[in-house]
Symmetry: C2
Subunit: 245 residues, 2 copies
């Protein structure tokens, strides 16, 4: 997408909070979402189940009540066609492209013209984990100082959402392409790994690293939904052959 993307489909932006510890931060995220017109909040393993009463969610109680809970990132982003991770560091995950916030905003706006876009925020203490990163297509970074890069979660959400709406005048729905959902990509990654494992490609010592490498690779392909279905069919055929030997 070029820098000319001035439209955003608000309903297709999904804010995903992963392993948030402080319910006040969940409330603050909900409030910023409501301030800027976003409505879809999803939570992966929140630390404190009582978050729905968070006082800081002034004016966003409804949004918070509607928020869905998931036990894994993969489930939370299953229906999304773009998954973007946020990070305070400059080199947290060298396998993923790291985009400045403005560029990221344009890309996400563009993506909402085709499907749902998820933005992942990690826990207050550790941010997103390496496992979380394997669900992401790329990462975005708020331009904080290197000497003090770690932002408060609610403030980080506010700044990212502001950047999304900052420069766009219209909010519309337009269907153009049909990219693969995260669920399809996830399934493809799994079947690819299993097939390679059954083929003896995966070494026990490096199994975890190999899995992460594959997951990143599959996400870099930016598959269409049709291609994902085709590839999955091919892989399943191979897997059947390999396992029947």
């Amino acid at each position: 997408m070029s820098s000319l993307v001035k439209e955003l489909n608000l309903d297709r932006v999904v804010v995903v909070l992963v392993s948030t510890r402080n319910p006040l931060n969940i409330g603050a995220a909900a409030r910023a979402m409501s301030n800027f017109g976003f409505g879809e909040l999803r939570l992966v393993n929140p630390y404190e189940p009582s978050f729905r009463e968070a006082r800081s969610a002034v004016g966003a109680a409804e949004l918070l009540k509607r928020a869905k809970q998931y036990s894994s990132v993969a489930e939370a982003v299953a229906d999304c066609t773009l998954v973007v991770g946020t990070t305070a560091g400059r080199d947290r995950e060298p396998q993923l492209e790291l985009r400045p916030l403005e560029e990221a905003g344009r890309k996400i706006r563009g993506a909402t013209m085709k499907g749902r876009a998820a933005i992942l925020f990690g826990s207050e203490k550790r941010g997103l984990s390496n496992d979380d990163f394997t669900n992401c297509h790329w990462l975005m970074r708020i331009p904080t100082r290197d000497e003090h890069s770690s932002m408060n979660l609610g403030q980080a959400v506010a700044v990212c959402l502001y950047e999304l709406i900052r420069d766009c005048k219209t909010v519309v729905v337009r269907e153009t392409q049909n990219p693969a959902t995260a669920e399809q990509v996830e399934l493809l990654s799994e079947v690819l790994f299993e097939t390679l494992e059954a083929s003896g490609y995966v070494k026990p010592k490096t199994e975890k690293a190999t899995n992460a490498k594959l997951r990143h690779l599959v996400r870099r392909l930016k598959l269409s939904a049709d291609d994902a279905v085709s590839l999955l069919g091919m892989l399943r055929k191979m897997q059947w052959k390999v396992k029947s030997k």
Copy 2:
């Protein structure tokens, strides 16, 4: 200032929190300031004197310790040449120009090339008061939804500061003009009011409104420091004459 102002003098931005009630919000403001490289925090009548230990100021304890306290907005912005108020409303103060955040950011960046620029944030419940507004040259507004415009204080500070640093590559000091400080403008407003009062211009029933009108008018003049000194001299002369009658 044109849209080409890509430079910001970080040291000349002053964040002023007016009558903040929750010390956690002061801490959150300090943290966002530190994240984005700002250092000058000033507090006008904070509700809770224990704010300096605010836990939310992760990484910004020093900045919080250095923060100065004032008993009036006028004192807090005395050395500033531009004073900008923040508001969630679209029509809080019809006498003051209301700028969108992006335009405001450019103007503030430009102003830091000449002197200190203060950004005022009001209390959590009420925002800035009409009296606070009489200290401002103009207002800026974060583009929140009309249906839910009121932001959390810490998040509002984070978004405003992000907008200031977002689009500028360099941070430099450059001396060009020499605008009047808020202290000079304040003094001028007072002497003008006293002189008009002594002249019978001020009616008891509308005294407060007249004073506010004058304060806004003087700030719209955008005086240079030299002109402020000249005008003050003239007014004092008139005042002396009027009172000696």
